[in-house]
């Protein structure tokens, strides 16, 4: 199989990245291992803060919109197809479960997104203990209540977002627990949790989860005191980190930046990695909010057009500038400055440090 632009991962970043290249006439192939495109959008029932030009809408609606607007162009959508490897000549190996085939492309964008980090404790392998994203998938995408009484481990954005969704669907969230002694919670979340009667216990960690074949009770250590709760759902909100396997097998240089979620591939102002013609965007390029995920997707698509002689029009250059301006305002300051330092360091390295590969 041959294509102009291969995109591995058809979530918000991949779908965004496809648009301008497709509109400009490039043949685009999107590969996604899931049953449907849309990635994390398909489980997001909340209204999202989006880039300019997009109406405020839920993740689920946005997912459909991003797919629909590609319909008029030469875009191949390969769902239930998984990238499993690479060839020395640069082709990507993909399987659809029944057969394996290669895809040769001029440009490749890896937008495989993020995975959820775990928190381990005795009994975490019991059914009913799951990542908080899994609970959200069951609730919003599969229309299944993930439990009746829940406890949430962690106090990041996902923890608050999904606690709210669980509570509104009739799941009793007994508490949110946090092992640190203090936690930063924004005013909206504090107000919501107060009226929903959901406490946050700091200096608290889970001692064990127990149950006959599935979780029915948890023991927690609250500031030295042991407390027991009857729950049938334990949501682990361990945080997100960029998925690395595609970059590792492609031989991309990696860097560790905790503000971006840990290890991730190095890239320049065009979102091009250390491997020529291989690009990155979305959460894979650093954990960030949806608006920025989509903007990095737009940017990588525009940057690829900018790199091609027949496509680097004034429109493309202007759009690239305005996207960077918008991205600078869209991200949390720590994320933005970490991203800048990654790009700056990589570009300087490439210019002044000889490679020993």
């Amino acid at each position: 199989m041959e294509t102009d632009l291969l995109i591995i991962g058809g979530g918000p970043a991949g779908l965004s990245a496809a648009y301008e290249p497709a509109r400009h006439g490039l043949k685009v192939t999107i590969v996604d291992e899931s049953l449907r495109l849309g990635g994390q959008l398909n489980q997001q029932s909340q209204v999202l803060d989006l880039p300019s030009g997009f109406a405020k809408q839920t993740g689920m609606k946005l997912s459909q919109f991003l797919q629909d607007r590609l319909l008029n162009y030469d875009v191949d959508l390969l769902t239930k197809c998984t990238m499993i490897g690479t060839y020395k000549d640069g082709r990507i190996g993909v399987t659809d479960g029944n057969t394996t085939f290669s895809i040769r492309s001029q440009k490749t964008i890896i937008t495989t997104g993020a995975a959820e980090d775990s928190i381990s404790f005795p009994g975490w392998t019991l059914p009913g203990v799951m990542t908080i994203g899994a609970a959200q998938i069951l609730l919003n995408r599969e229309k299944v209540l993930p439990g009746k009484k829940a406890i949430v481990l962690g106090t990041n954005n996902l923890a608050f977002e999904i606690t709210k969704q669980l509570n509104e669907s009739g799941v009793e969230v007994i508490a949110i627990i946090e092992k640190e002694s203090t936690v930063d919670v924004d005013a909206d979340n504090i107000a919501y949790l107060k009226q929903a009667n959901i406490p946050i216990y700091v200096n608290t960690s889970i001692t064990r989860a127990r149950g006959p074949g599935e979780v029915e009770k948890v023991l927690i250590d609250n500031n030295g005191t042991e407390v027991a709760f009857d729950v049938d759902l334990v949501c682990i909100a361990g945080g997100l980190f960029p998925i690395l396997e595609p970059f590792q097998v492609l031989g991309c240089e990696l860097i560790y930046l905790s503000e971006l979620g840990g290890w991730l591939p190095k890239y320049d102002t065009n979102f091009e990695t250390s491997i020529p013609n291989t690009y990155v965007a979305g959460n894979a390029a650093g954990i960030t909010a949806m608006k920025a995920i989509m903007l990095t997707g737009d940017l990588v698509g525009i940057s690829i057009l900018d790199s091609l002689e027949n496509y680097n029009s004034d429109y493309v250059k202007k759009r690239k500038d305005s996207l960077w301006t918008e991205l600078a305002k869209a991200e949390q300051p720590e994320v933005w400055s970490a991203r800048l330092s990654l790009i700056k360091e990589f570009e300087l390295e490439r210019k002044y440090v000889t490679s020993n590969r």
Binding site: I84, Y87, P122, Q248, V249, G262
Partner: protein, 112 residues
């Protein structure tokens, strides 16, 4: 942390086993993998990698930036043999997927 806590869900390796091999001299995820089978199960370290690196960090003085990710090999996800050996046309490609994997410096090529 309770030393009997499972870290690698697939191979069911607990904290105690991992800390024991760190005391024996294991310093990286790949060392721990080779000594305990941690990371060798069906998920191929996707879930345990960060948990193990946290344990190494807590037991040594290595910063996270020194704890490189577990080495990943093809196929990147669970794949049925029947999918890899799918048709006569792709037989040479099948050998390629395994043979032409990018080599680390110092590793030798598999002989055909």
């Amino acid at each position: 942390m309770d030393k009997s806590t499972i870290v690698c869900r697939c191979e069911e390796i607990n904290v105690d086993e991992i800390e024991t091999v760190i005391k024996m001299g294991a310093t990286t995820f790949d060392d721990i993998k080779r000594l305990t089978r941690c990371g060798m199960g069906p998920c191929q370290a996707k879930v345990c990698m960060n948990l193990v690196n946290r344990i190494i960090h807590d037991n040594t003085d290595k910063p996270f930036s020194d704890l490189t990710p577990a080495n990943m090999r093809m196929p990147l996800k669970l794949t049925r043999i029947s999918a890899l050996a799918s048709s006569d046309q792709t037989i040479t490609s099948v050998t390629s997927v395994f043979d032409e994997s990018l080599q680390e410096v110092g590793e030798t090529n598999r002989e055909e």
